[in-house]
Symmetry: C2
Subunit: 205 residues, 2 copies
DNA sequence: GGGACAATAGACCTGTTAGTTCAGTTTCGG
DNA sequence: CCGAAACTGAACTAACAGGTCTATTGTCCC
């Protein structure tokens, strides 16, 4: 009769469940993932699974929320404020590209987007913990750089997003569609160089 | 005993099936869509449906292929070659934004991407009929403009994609996640102006 | 050690799915 | 207006889904 406290008692099995669910949901999406498969992947029985989560939907939400948090942590990298804009931007670009092309970020993106109808709050969570976070970080830096006279930008929020967008050129689209999954260093460098050069052509001092 | 010729005899019912399947698949995705619902939406019995398509998967493929072709047609808009780059680019940008934000393109994108694991050939079809087609058109124009001395571009394929990417700034991401679905004219204008200005700052004569 | 109880596995239940079949009805060319 | 082909609608199967139940195991406190 008595359920174990659903969210307080988080033992070994709890993590196993979340982990198995992550594996399955992130590759299959919500509908296509079966609870049996999740239980199997987690090395746990269905009853155990259902003792921690009331239903499949809430397990899904928990998994994605978890991934979004991980994502937020990954995305937080400090920007060295003092270097020349060209160097700073290159570093930021490299970080963005690396993140955006990672299997992890792509899986989360894919799942959030395709289930954004069914679970709108997850799309929001993804956006806040990924794109929006990045946007805010870049905006902060740009604001400082403008104040220091290193850059000239009228519309900082727009510029920040433009830069992020430029970094994805040719890479992201191909990656999400599985048209090209691995990119060589020269390929990436070409895009990054292009992004920085174009950005600075417009906003450079 | 005798099946109707599966692909030659394409009567009224055939189109009804494809149409009903389009409605359901484009909103629900592959897994979540049930064949009964498709038949209902098509105003057709399941037996009829299965007389045209051997199974759900191939019906899905047919629908998406169809949508990709429609997409290709929509995307093909002639570029007025003679105007000044600023005007041409603005027009192209407006076209890109309009297309990218359309319910139609978003539905196709969403479905292709979330099923790209199960149906890799559809992801490819989408890419070829959308992003790649646009890329080729823009590249053509840029090549001419460079030859005419109106623009200075070293890496045309990269520049074409950069421009397309700049056009999506702030708009596309929010749209696919359902964070913002309608955009006012000023909002769009701001992005387009930003895209053209940034592009010309780098590549303008 | 022993009893109480949470944790667990796996069979089980109910509903739904894709896909098939078929007897009867509609449609339509000749 | 006839006959054949297209079509319907409902019943059917086999598989599988999410979720529950019961019987068993492991573990902690006295």
């Amino acid at each position: 009769m008595s359920l174990p406290a659903p969210s307080s008692r988080r033992g070994r099995k709890f993590d196993q469940v979340l982990d198995g669910a992550r594996q399955v949901f992130m590759t299959q999406g919500f509908e296509a993932a079966s609870v049996d498969e999740i239980a199997r992947a987690a090395g746990v029985s269905k009853a155990t699974l259902y003792s921690y989560f009331p239903d499949k939907a809430q397990l899904f939400v928990a998994v994605v929320r978890n991934e979004c948090n991980r994502q937020a942590e990954t995305a937080v990298a400090d920007i060295p404020r003092d270097a020349a804009p060209e160097q700073v931007l290159e570093q930021v670009a490299r970080h963005i590209v690396g993140f955006v092309l990672s299997d992890f970020a792509q899986a989360v993106f894919r799942v959030c987007m395709s289930e954004s109808e069914r679970f709108p709050e997850l799309a929001r969570a993804f956006y806040d913990s990924g794109p929006r976070l990045g946007h805010d970080r870049i905006s902060e830096y740009l604001t400082e750089a403008v104040a220091a006279g290193k850059l000239h930008i009228d519309d900082i929020p727009l510029a920040a997003d433009q830069f992020a967008e430029l970094c994805k050129t040719q890479l992201w689209m191909r990656a999400v569609f599985g048209i090209q999954t691995k990119f060589s260093r020269p390929e990436v460098d070409r895009v990054i160089r292009g992004a920085v050069d174009t950005f600075l052509a417009r906003y450079g001092a």
